[in-house]
């Protein structure tokens, strides 16, 4: 019993996550000077998934890797790259998982067809239940 408990306790104890000692990447916590570009970067960062976290965008995470990804986004935006091109760059490396914005593809088409079916269904139900004024 005691060994079982000891085992249990080690399993339950949350280990201090091993953390690196380097300072964050330059643009992890630093905004771009041009507010318009920063807005572009911010909007993109909100829709890219932090790969080290549980379901958070890289704009909402303190994970060092999220910081490095923000750095990538900001420097690329500053270099004049289009936000969607940067998203495509990420997707090329990590697959569709990295982007919170699903694109129509062989594996995601139901996400877009079902809402259309829902619209049709809503209109149908309304036409069945409602009549013009008597």
């Amino acid at each position: 019993m005691r060994t079982f408990l000891a085992l249990l306790l080690t399993l339950l104890a949350v280990p201090v996550v091993a953390q690196d000692m380097l300072p964050p990447a330059p643009y992890a916590y630093q905004q771009l000077d041009d507010p318009a570009l920063e807005t572009q970067a911010q909007n993109l960062m909100l829709t890219l998934r932090c790969l080290k976290c549980q379901s958070q965008s890289i704009a909402d995470s303190d994970a060092p890797m999220a910081g490095d990804m923000r750095h990538q986004v900001r420097t690329r935006i500053a270099a004049g790259e289009n936000p969607e091109a940067i998203r495509a760059w990420m997707v090329e490396r990590y697959g569709a998982y990295v982007s919170y914005k699903p694109e129509v593809s062989a594996s995601t088409w139901p996400l877009f067809v079902i809402p259309l079916v829902l619209i049709a269904l809503v209109l149908f139900v309304l036409s069945q239940r409602l009549r013009r004024r008597a």
Binding site: L22, L51, M65, D68, M69, R93, G95, Y97
Partner: protein, 178 residues
Amino acid sequence: MKRLRLVLWGVVAVVACLFGLFAFQLSRPKDDVVVSAMIGKPMPQFDLKPSVADRPGLSTRDLMDGKPKLVNVFASWCVPCAAEAEQLAALEQNGAVIVGIAIRDRPQDVAAFLQAYGNPFTRIGADDISEVQLSIGSSGVPETFVVDGKGIIRYQHIGDIRAENIPQLLQELRKAES
């Protein structure tokens, strides 16, 4: 009335499918790894400065010298990286050429890490802002890529290398040779 009944049986069918999906997903272990989409594609262009004094840095050109290599993405602050040191040494003994990419790491820490756990690397590049890691679709440490002599990424191993993974990695290296 007939229509309502039909709709309801339809709902029952959909819900049954949904619960079936739940049961299927429960029955298998949750897979949290993010696989790189770069397998089969060439290594992106990079040139990393040396991480420690006694090993040169790493660039794309170094991976295109005609000989397949293991690219080990690691860090001194990562616990599983220390755990796989033994397996890396075994791979080295079996003739594998191993190069390292040190993620977000200070030179003195890497040096101490290699001192403690051995140094199987011929080259170690310092990736201070995870730039190369991001560009090859690696989402954590440690990860090990098999890159062929032309610099094409052939295989990715996620997590620490266990003893039972060694044959697989050696086989992937041989496959990359042809």
